[in-house]
């Protein structure tokens, strides 16, 4: 019975029905578009300003000075714990190698006796040039860009990952 009444309403007074239809559609359109925009802003990627991607980070700068070349003894690996990098000096060439294991992100350490980097978590091993040779690590350790600043100090940029044969000769 209720259906009959509804049908009658729909047939009589086309003007009001279409006006009502218009507002129904317009209402839904506004609701859906607003919902979509907010959903995108909330869960969307960084390039559209997604809520979960902070624009300002309170993290250490990715570019930093590590000191004069003479501070590093030739043929040694220096661990800069706070910066999470190794400075590897061979003669006059310098490399900045990440301490972050390429398996699951633990911190590898330099084992002087064996001349290799070892990861304490799952046993990944890397040669002095950062190339993985044992354990679950899938790729070599990251090598970061090293340059010399105007004051003669070495500057590492951890945002720039360079090929593993790159070295800075001073």
């Amino acid at each position: 019975m209720a259906n009959n009444v509804k049908e009658k309403e729909a047939y009589s007074g086309n003007l009001y029905t279409s006006k009502r239809d218009f507002f129904t559609l317009a209402g839904w359109a506004v609701f859906l578009v607003t919902g979509l925009v907010y959903t995108l802003k909330l869960f969307g990627p960084k390039n559209i300003g997604g809520f979960f991607f902070p624009k300002v980070l309170f993290e250490p700068s990715p570019v930093f000075s590590v000191g004069l070349p003479a501070d590093f003894v030739p043929g040694t690996v220096t661990t800069l714990k706070a910066r999470k990098i190794f400075i590897v000096r061979e003669g006059n060439s310098f490399k900045a190698i990440s301490v972050i294991c390429q398996h699951l992100g633990c911190a590898v350490h330099w084992t002087k006796e064996k001349n290799i980097f070892e990861c304490p978590c799952h046993g990944s091993k890397y040669y002095k040039n950062g190339v993985n040779f044992a354990g679950p690590a899938p790729r070599p350790l990251y090598h970061f860009d090293v340059s010399v600043a105007d004051d003669g100090k070495l500057v590492v940029n951890t945002e720039k990952i360079v090929p593993i044969n790159t070295e800075l000769v001073v």
Binding site: K46, L57, G105, C106
Partner: protein, 256 residues
């Protein structure tokens, strides 16, 4: 007339009583049905229970156990929130305070942790039971899907809770877990096709989870909010659907 029954009748005829209790206790089929139907705690249950539903060795009550543990975790979790602050300078100390100085704190924290482990276990066993009894088959396919989502949410609750003590175990667990996220195809900066869309360390899924490129203060806060508010609300909503579907898809599963 007996004085006691007179007062009982007077009491049960007041407006206050009638507005709270809608039916009598005379043992009639109607009152039996109403007892379940009109009770805030019992209305989840069917008015009439099929005989097979009382056979505990078919379902082992695993879904119900999981829900009970979830309620337990909610209560203990809210109590823990009174003493715990998700700040990198305080979190670990607050956890230690809970263990040594807060009254009942050690029991609360320890039971919250154990119950968290227990929920993961009962959820897995629940899923195993549903699979082995074929209870995922028609007409219960949709409820199986809801169940899978709830399983994932249970894992996420367990995972986000792991970081909150801000100790070495939690820190490295989150390190490993979010690095797995970094290896996700397309969405993670170390995963396949990352270069294709310009996905880098500062705009991938790991970045969104941690609120930065490394585990730091924003990560702890994010884990806390997801753990205490975000995921429980989503899981709660899905649980409502899950229980509703149990009823709508022919009641509790039983032997054919």
């Amino acid at each position: 007339m007996n004085l006691i029954s007179y007062f009982i009748r007077k009491l049960t005829e007041t407006e206050v009583w009638k507005s709270v209790f809608r039916h009598g206790y005379t043992d009639t089929p109607r009152n039996r049905a109403l007892q379940t139907l009109s009770n805030v705690w019992l209305h989840l249950h069917p008015v009439k229970v099929p005989k097979h539903a009382v056979k505990i060795r078919f379902t082992w009550c695993l879904g119900g156990l999981t829900f009970f543990i979830f309620l337990f975790l909610t209560v203990t979790g809210v109590l823990l929130m009174f003493y715990y602050v998700p700040d990198v300078n305080r979190a670990y100390a607050d956890m230690i305070d809970l263990m040594y100085v807060v009254p009942l704190g050690r029991l609360l924290r320890t039971s919250h942790r154990w119950a968290g482990h227990a929920m993961v276990i009962t959820v897995c066993f629940h899923m195993l039971r549903v699979f082995l009894t074929g209870s995922y088959k028609a007409p219960r396919q949709f409820n199986w899907v809801l169940g899978v989502l709830l399983l994932v949410l249970t894992f996420l609750l367990s995972f986000t809770g792991y970081l909150l003590p801000w100790d070495q175990l939690g820190y490295w667990a989150i390190m490993v877990g979010t690095n797995m996220g970094a290896a996700t195809p397309v969405m993670g900066y170390q995963g396949p096709f990352a270069e294709l869309l310009g996905v880098k360390i500062n705009n991938d899924i790991r970045f969104a989870l941690l609120g930065g490129t490394q585990i730091d203060a924003p990560s702890l806060l994010r884990a806390y909010v997801w753990h205490c508010i975000g995921i429980p609300i989503i899981a709660g909503a899905l649980m409502i659907l899950h229980f509703w579907r149990v009823r709508k898809d022919g009641g509790i599963s039983g032997p054919l």
